[in-house]
């Protein structure tokens, strides 16, 4: 069955985009920070958040190929559709990185050439000079373009190949399945390395004086979790509209389990990072949490409890994961929780004390990106049958039972 975008969805996403644009324009006009840094940071927060959702989805999709998971075959197209946002999300991230390289904002302090000039005592920064063999523009751009190129290549290839598989049968189909398997192995290896590198480059380098060895995993945990929630919400939306008739409570329970499990992964990494820094109390490490806990305690604590305690308590029982209404309610809560996590990752570091509370800029850009994101995913749904036509595991997925 093919998907058509309902009039209501079309109007609502358009309204989101327009409201977001209006709020963002008002916000940018009233932004008095140097270089309009606040607007850039708010834009960057949301660009990264939605890019991470698409990337986390692509990772989980490849993981299913590698582990030869059968039950996800019925919802495969949903993951694909979310991943089609990846190139556009990458573009939004690139805009901020290019602007930073051109000196249009100072979110990344090391991009300013003056910090390396030992003859300029006002701007010289010994630590950044020390790590400049890694953090310099040519090497940074080499990494950024390589990472994005590889990700975009795999997104497009997986999607093309999956649609091509719809018309195959017998041995050709099985060969296609093994091809998926092999390419996914390559992708996972690349992703394992690149997800850490992009976390250092695009997020941790906002604070070039602060280092955390497990920052890459923490960012990865967050992106994986938000991806799992997004997939559940889209599947529930489609089911509510009468699509995906073969997806039943068993599939929903497993998707809910993933949200539950990955929430713990995120909480574990978030807390582990905090615990080690809190325990050793080394000033250059503690500075990261000092600012956050002293100036934005509610943001830090709400982020932690919304992403740890809420999924733990609300998604523990079997019935909770099998009830669509309940699952969608919890899913939206955690989705917002992970957005807050991205906000507290980017905003306090980029703006120091200029960031006081979440204002219309963050919310405006959030609405704008959300509208574009939903529209793109829904459009991708219309481009291919919502359930794969042919797959070696399709039958097994239909009869999934736990």
């Amino acid at each position: 069955m093919n998907f058509t975008i309902s009039k209501r969805a079309s109007t609502l996403t358009l309204a989101l985009i327009i409201i977001g644009l209006v709020l963002a324009v008002i916000g940018v006009a009233g932004d008095h920070t140097d270089h309009r840094q606040y607007s850039w940071a708010a834009f960057y927060t949301n660009a990264l958040f939605f890019f991470f959702i698409a990337l986390g989805t692509l990772f989980f999709y490849a993981l299913n190929h590698v582990t030869e998971t059968a039950w996800t075959v019925l919802v495969k197209r949903v993951y694909e559709a979310i991943a089609t946002y990846l190139p556009w999300g990458a573009l939004a991230v690139l805009v901020v990185l290019v602007a930073g390289s051109m000196g249009l904002h100072h979110i990344f302090p090391w991009m300013d050439g003056r910090v390396l000039d030992a003859g300029d005592p006002d701007h010289y920064d010994g630590h950044i000079a020390h790590i400049s063999s890694y953090l310099n523009k040519p090497f940074f751009w080499f990494r950024a373009l390589l990472i994005l190129g590889v990700f975009v290549f795999f997104t497009r290839w997986f999607r093309k190949h999956s649609i091509q598989m719809d018309g195959e049968t017998g041995d050709t189909l099985v060969r296609s399945h093994w091809k998926n398997y092999n390419r996914s192995v390559v992708f996972i290896v690349c992703f394992a390395f690149f997800s850490s590198v992009l976390a250092w480059d695009w997020v941790m380098s906002i604070d070039p004086h602060w280092h955390s060895a497990l920052f890459g995993w923490y960012v990865f945990g967050g992106m994986w979790c938000s991806a799992m929630i997004t997939a559940v919400i889209f599947v529930l939306y489609l089911k509510g509209k009468g699509y995906l008739p073969q997806v039943n409570a068993n599939h929903l329970q497993d998707m809910g389990k993933w949200v539950f499990a990955v929430s713990f992964l995120w909480s574990y990494l978030y807390f582990e990072q905090f615990l080690l820094i809190w325990y050793s109390d080394v000033p250059e490490e503690a500075a990261y949490y000092f600012g956050r806990l002293n100036h934005h305690p509610w943001l830090t604590w709400v982020t932690f409890f919304a992403n740890f305690a809420l999924p733990m308590v609300l998604l523990m029982s079997r019935d909770a994961k099998r009830s669509p209404k309940y699952l969608i309610f919890v899913g939206v809560l955690i989705f917002i929780g992970h957005w807050l996590d991205t906000v507290q990752m980017i905003m306090p570091s980029s703006l120091a004390l200029h960031f006081e509370r979440i204002g219309i800029l963050e919310i405006g850009f959030f609405a704008l990106f959300l509208g574009v994101f939903i529209r793109m995913v829904l459009t991708a749904f219309t481009k291919a049958p919502l359930t794969v036509v042919a797959h070696p595991f399709l039958e097994e997925s239909v009869h999934h039972h736990i």
Binding site: F271, F274, L275, Y279, S280, D281, M316, S317, R318, H401
Partner: protein, 177 residues
């Protein structure tokens, strides 16, 4: 009429499932099924209730967490305040981050052990307990359905046996008890 227990032996879990489905549809109550490994999907067919193991696990986990909180509080705050990196230690909440690994591990320990022991007791399979298996072959390669005549007053024992004969049964054993 003495109460009888009927054992129907099958060679394949799928054959057993088909037979059980047929018996249950005809209104016969299946007492139990013995097999060398868990048979997927047998629970709803013979009307087993959902396991309450999850609730047991949660209760043991909550118990472990409480015990760990009490223990860390008594040892490291009340009885002998620990100086961790010069941090203030008059109150539990000021040091709770340091205890989180212990709280977590102790919760998992209690939940896992409590659940395993409860499971063994409930199944009467604690080490040293006498085996309740009707036929040792069900631990190897045979799959057995157990029926009791006292639970099936609506059907004559002969009728049940006849019904079993219609399925792809290997052998039918009857026993008085």
């Amino acid at each position: 009429m003495a109460n009888k227990v009927i054992y129907a032996v099958y060679e394949d879990p799928e054959l057993l499932k088909d037979a059980a489905r047929k018996l249950v549809t005809a209104g016969v109550r299946v007492k139990d099924v013995f097999s060398p490994f868990p048979i997927h999907g047998i629970d709803p067919i013979i009307g087993l209730k959902r396991t309450r193991m999850g609730i047991v696990s949660f209760m043991f986990g909550a118990f472990g967490l409480s015990l760990a909180i009490l223990g860390t509080y008594y040892m490291a705050i009340y009885d002998w305040p620990m100086n961790i990196g010069g941090k203030p230690n008059q109150f539990y909440y000021q040091n709770v981050a340091a205890f989180v690994p212990v709280l977590f591990e102790f919760t998992v320990l209690c939940a896992a052990h409590g659940m395993a022991i409860t499971y063994l007791i409930r199944n009467k399979t604690l080490p040293g307990m006498p085996g309740r298996n009707p036929d040792p072959r069900s631990t190897n390669d045979k799959f057995i359905i157990e029926l009791r005549t006292e639970e099936n007053h609506g059907h004559a024992p002969e009728a049940i046996t006849a019904m079993l004969r219609e399925t792809t049964v290997l052998e039918i054993n009857e026993r008085q008890y």
